[in-house]
């Protein structure tokens, strides 16, 4: 079989890129890692989130807004092709503030984002107005207010991932699970990709292997500077709807479970701790005391994929044309723009000039100065 593109990584980034390429008629093969590899795509919180993103990086802020606007159409088409349900809503989202200091801090972030040219679609909501938005719950005494962005939404990230996988197959692509790639070697007319699947060859290779990306691209001179960060999440039993808006760190899924997250820890394993469970539960019950009577059914941890400046990296090798890499923290939020914009570029042409702000070259500034 002729293969146009080999995508390394079947997480939400690799799968969205593969889906976008397959939509354009490319023959894609996606190679996924081992079962025990860290999988941000299966551990994340499920926000499709705009507020606060790229408050110090205008291009990232704009890309996030673009993806957020593409999301309803992206979800509709994906759900149709995969013949699968994807719970998604975009009622706007809240960041709760539990002190005057937190409130002032959020207001400053919004101000900064607006000053760099973004539309003023995030506003500060005082406690009284917030109470009207959340009639089914009583707010804890510490809640001063919240920041509200009308563009924010949330999705069931596992349904998203499953739908992407299914759609890739429906569109004629192939996915090989448990196929961690050992190495990529340039050959005439493209690349050879070596792993348990044997050897595959294609004119283009896209590495979207999360934290495993640098080890695959750096031997070929393509730097992907990133770090990991552990996040722990709690989930409650299913309860009757109480939260009409997703929040940063607190959202109720379409099925009724309340997700409570997430910690930021400089730890590279996916174990969970009682200390974090306590911290998360305490903050959630300070926001909504009645959550104290909800039963927790599960706690888990995942590793965030964080480019060093937290802004996505879309890189193209200059030494080896046809070799690309993608890495970002917000693979769910950016899935729509990955499918619609990044995939066609990586699958058939070059990364457009307006994505230069996301190139890996930005990390070399100190050397040039």
């Amino acid at each position: 079989m002729h293969v146009d593109v080999i995508i390394i990584g079947a997480g939400v980034v690799g799968a969205a890129l593969a889906y976008g390429m397959a939509l354009k008629g490319k023959h894609v093969i996606v190679l996924d890692g081992a079962d025990r590899d860290p999988r941000a795509a299966r551990a994340n919180f499920g926000l499709v989130w705009v507020q606060g993103k790229g408050s110090d990086a205008p291009a990232y802020s704009a890309l996030t807004r673009q993806s957020s606007d593409l999301w309803p159409g992206f979800r509709h088409e994906l759900s149709k092709i995969a013949a699968d349900r994807i719970d998604y809503e975009r009622p706007g989202g809240l960041v709760y503030c539990l002190s005057e200091t937190e409130y002032a801090h959020r207001a400053a972030i919004n101000e900064r984002t607006h000053n760099q040219g973004a539309q003023a679609d995030t506003e500060m909501i005082e406690r009284g107005a917030l109470e009207h938005m959340l009639p089914a719950v009583g707010l804890g005494p510490d809640v001063v207010g919240a920041s509200y962005c009308k563009l924010d939404g949330h999705v069931n990230p596992l349904q998203l991932l499953a739908a992407l996988h299914r759609a890739v197959l429906v569109l004629g692509g192939r996915i090989e699970f448990r196929s961690p790639v050992k190495a990529i070697s340039p050959v005439s007319g493209g690349f050879r990709v070596i792993g348990p699947h044997g050897e595959l060859q294609a004119p283009r290779v896209v590495v979207a292997a999360g934290l495993a990306t640098p080890a695959l691209t750096e031997p070929l001179g393509l730097a992907m500077p990133m770090k990991s960060e552990r996040g722990q999440i709690l989930v409650t039993e299913r309860i009757a709807p109480i939260l009409p808006f997703p929040g940063s760190g607190l959202r109720q899924s379409a099925d009724g479970t309340v997700m409570i997250g997430a910690t930021n820890e400089k730890i590279a394993d996916t174990s969970v701790t009682a200390a974090s469970a306590t911290k998360l539960a305490q903050r959630a019950t300070r926001i909504i005391p009645a959550l104290g009577s909800a039963r927790l059914v599960r706690q888990w941890a995942g590793l965030r994929v964080l480019p060093l400046d937290k802004t996505p990296i879309y890189a193209e090798s200059t030494d080896y044309p046809g070799l690309f890499a993608a890495a970002c923290h917000s693979g769910v939020t950016l899935a729509a723009v990955h499918a619609a914009v990044i995939a066609p570029a990586m699958g058939g042409s070059h990364l457009p000039e307006d994505l230069a702000a996301f190139s890996n070259g930005r990390f070399n500034v100190q050397k040039c100065a």
Binding site: R238, I239, A240, G256, A290, L291, A294, V297
Partner: protein, 99 residues
Amino acid sequence: MFKSVHEKPGKASDMTVLVNGVEIGAWNGETVASVLLRAPGAGRGSTVSRTPRLPYCQMGVCFECLVIVDGNASMQGCLVPVAPGMRIESQHGPREISK
């Protein structure tokens, strides 16, 4: 419908519990879920799909046996031992938490 292995003609059960208001015999050491499996019409509607459900895994992981026990909703019936006079009610829809 299931039948308890302890059920013998002429032998009384260890206790009686109420399932949706109807008395049913139960035995020491068994769980609410096991009683539900032999109580007619004691299923529940899934909180997600609204389709009918009965206890399944019997070991605390599938959450198919959610039930109201003595007024407490969303109890996992397979993890709750029966007690004399216990009031067991089918739960339709998700649990509500108070404001």
